[in-house]
C-alpha cells in the first residue's frame, strides 16, 4: 500500500444521486502523492471527486484533509485546487485574469499576487499568453492555464478531472510528461481522475480503481496493474483472456484444468476450488523455434494455429486456436507490429505460444 499517513482520507462514504450510488467508498492519499482514481466511464469517479470538493454532500461517511474533517465544509473553505474536464476557463476573462481570479478572495497583496502569477507563468511556460483571450488557446494551453489558476490559490491539494479528455490523441503523451514535471516541481498532493490506462500508468504513483460506484482496489501503480484483485478489475486492466476451471494439485504447484487445455499457476489457487484464470494479451509470447525459452514461460506452452491477425496502428492482435479446441479461437495475444514480419506470422500458421506465469491472475469464484 501507499504511505500509511493519509493526507486525504475518505471513509465509508455513501451518496445516492438519482439511480446512481457511491457505496462504502474508502480512499486514502498520502502527502505529496500523485494518486490516480481510475475506472470506466460512469463508475462514479467524478462524483467522488465532487464529494471531496464539497459540491455533493454525502449521506454518510467522512472526509479528512490534512488532519481536519471537511465532510460538511463549504467548497470555498476546503482549499482544494480543481481542474475540471473541459477546464472551465472563464470566457469573459483573459489568461492573466483567469490566473488571478482566485487571488481576490484570498486578499493577497498586489506585489505578492504579481510575483505569484509571474512564477506560475514561468513554471507553466505560459508567459507569452498572459494577455490572450482564452477562446484563442489550444487544448494544451488551456490545460496549463486551468492548472495555473488552481495552483494560484496555493491549495492544499490538486484535483484533476479527466484533464486530457479534450486534448488531441497525438499531443497527449507529451503533455503527460509536462504535467508530471509541473506537479513534481510544485510538490503538491494530487488526485487525478481518468479512465485512460496509459495515462494512469504514466502519471500515478498510486492508483485506486472504481467500478460501478465502489472502490475495487487501491495500491501502488505496479501492484494495481500487475495484480488485479478480482475478475472485474482484471477485465478493466485488459485481461481479455478469461477462463473458468478447477484447481488441481500438482508436484510443482497448482494446475488449473480449463477443459480442453490446462494452465500451471504456481501456488495461486487452492486444490478443488472453482477459479477464474485471467491472462493479459501482452503476457502471451510467440515461441521462437530453436531458441531457449525462459523459465517463467516454460510451464505453459501451448500448440495451435493463428486464426486471425488484426492490425492496429502500433500493434498487432493475434487470435490463437489451441490444438484440438472446439472454439473458433481461444486466446488473444498482442505484440508490436514488427514481430509479424520477423517471425513470419500469418493466418493459418502453426505456432507455439507461452503464457508468462507470474502475470497469470487466478480468482476463486
Amino acid at each position: 500500500m501507499c504511505d500509511s499517513r493519509p493526507f486525504l482520507s475518505v471513509e465509508s462514504l455513501h451518496l445516492t444521486l438519482g439511480g446512481f450510488a457511491l457505496r462504502n467508498m474508502t480512499l486514502s492519499c498520502a502527502r505529496g502523492e500523485y494518486h490516480v482514481l481510475l475506472g470506466p466511464t460512469g463508475s462514479g469517479k467524478s462524483t467522488l471527486l465532487k464529494c471531496i470538493l464539497g459540491f455533493h454532500r454525502p449521506e454518510s461517511g467522512r472526509i479528512h484533509l490534512d488532519g481536519c474533517e471537511i465532510t460538511g465544509a463549504l467548497p470555498e473553505h476546503r482549499r482544494m485546487g480543481y481542474v475540471p474536464q473541459d477546464y472551465a476557463l472563464f470566457p469573459h476573462l483573459n489568461v492573466e485574469e483567469n490566473l488571478r481570479f482566485g487571488l481576490r478572495p484570498r486578499r493577497m497583496r498586489s506585489n505578492q499576487a504579481d510575483s505569484l502569477v509571474d512564477r506560475l507563468c514561468e513554471v507553466l511556460s505560459i508567459g507569452s499568453l498572459r494577455r490572450r483571450e482564452v477562446r484563442h488557446l489550444s487544448g494544451g494551453e488551456r490545460q496549463k492555464v486551468a492548472i495555473g489558476r488552481a495552483l494560484a490559490t496555493q491549495p492544499k491539494m490538486l484535483l484533476l478531472d479527466e484533464p486530457f479528455s479534450s486534448i488531441d490523441e497525438g499531443a497527449k503523451r507529451g503533455l503527460w510528461l509536462e504535467l508530471r514535471q509541473i506537479i513534481r516541481d510544485v510538490g503538491i498532493t494530487t488526485l487525478h481522475v481518468t479512465h485512460n490506462l496509459d495515462e494512469a500508468y504514466s502519471l500515478g504513483q498510486c492508483q485506486s480503481l472504481m467500478i460501478d460506484g465502489s472502490l475495487v482496489q487501491s495500491g501502488s501503480t505496479r501492484e494495481i496493474f500487475g495484480r488485479p484483485i478480482n475478475e472485474s478489475a482484471a477485465r478493466y486492466f485488459n485481461y481479455t483472456n478469461i477462463f473458468a476451471g478447477v484447481a488441481e494439485k500438482t508436484a510443482g504447484g497448482t494446475r488449473i484444468n480449463l477443459g480442453h487445455f490446462a494452465v500451471e499457476a504456481g501456488a495461486k489457487a487452492t486444490e478443488g476450488k472453482r477459479v477464474k484464470v485471467c491472462i493479459r494479451q501482452q503476457d502471451i509470447r510467440v515461441i521462437k523455434e530453436g531458441a531457449p525459452v525462459k523459465d517463467s514461460l516454460k510451464r505453459n506452452i501451448l500448440s495451435g494455429e493463428i486464426t486471425n491477425l488484426i492490425h492496429l496502428r502500433e500493434e498487432c492482435v493475434m487470435r490463437f486456436k489451441i490444438e484440438g479446441s472446439p472454439k473458433a479461437y481461444d486466446l488473444e495475444a498482442r505484440f508490436p507490429v514488427h514481430m509479424e514480419g520477423r517471425r513470419e506470422l500469418h493466418e493459418g500458421k502453426k505456432i507455439r505460444v507461452a503464457l508468462w506465469e507470474p502475470m497469470i491472475a487466478v480468482f476463486t469464484e
Binding site: 485546487g81 480543481y82 472551465a88 469573459h92 482566485g102 489558476r149 488552481a150
Partner: protein, 258 residues
Amino acid sequence: MNRSFHILVGGVSALLIALFLVLLIGMLLELWQQTSLRAPHFSEIVFAARLSLITATLASAIALAVSIPVAYAFSRYSFPGKDLFDTLLDLPIVLSPIAIGALLLIFFNTALGRQLEHWFGPFVFEVRGIVLAQFVVVVGLSLRLLKETFQAIDVEYENLARSLGYNQMQVFARVVLPMARRGLIAAFLLTWGRAIGEFGATVTLAGATTMKTETIPVAIFLNFESVDISSAIVFITILITMSFAILLFVRKTEAYVR
C-alpha cells in the same frame, strides 16, 4: 430540386417582408391622401413619448431585477411543483393583455388590493398603474429569456469559482452575471420594446386620459377614436421608429458583446 427549394424559401421570405413593407407603405399613402392634415400638439407628443419612455424603462428594469433571481432559481434548483410554478410564470406571455389588465383591476378592488393602494398610493387610473400593467405583461418574457440564458451557462464554472474561494453570492456576481451579460442586455431591450408598445393591460388598469395616462399606444387609440387619422399616424410612426431602433440596437449589441 435544389433550385425549387431555393425558390420556396426565398419566395416565402420575400412574401413576408413584402407584407410588412405593404403595411408601412399603406400608412404613408394614407397620410398622403389626408385632405386636412392635422399634426398633434407638440406638447402632447412630448408628453406621450416621455411617459412611454419612463414607464417602459421602469417596468422593464423592475421586471429584469425580479427575473434575475427567479430565473436563476428555476434554472438551477429542483423543488416540488417546479413545473407548475414555471407554467404559472409563463402565463403573462400567452394571456391577452386586456385579461391581465382586468385581473389587476379586480385585484385592486379586493381588500388586499385596497390595502396596497393605501400603503403605496393609487394604481388604478394612475401612472404607477401603467408601470404595474407593463411590468406584469413583460415579466414573463423577461423570465423566459433569462432562464434560457442561465441554463446555457455550465454549472461547472460556478463549481470552479467556489473551489477558488468564492461564496455563492460572489460567484453569482463575478461569474454568472458577467457570463450572462449578452442575455441580460437582450432581455432588457426586448422587454423594454414589449413594454413601450403595451396597450391592453395599460388602458384597462390606468385608463386612457389625455395628458395623464397617455402613452404612445394610448395616444394612437385616442386619436383613432376621435377619427384624427393623421395624428394617429404620427404616433404610429414614432412607435415604429422607436421599436425599429431598439431591435436594431439589440442585434448590434449582441454582435458586439459576442
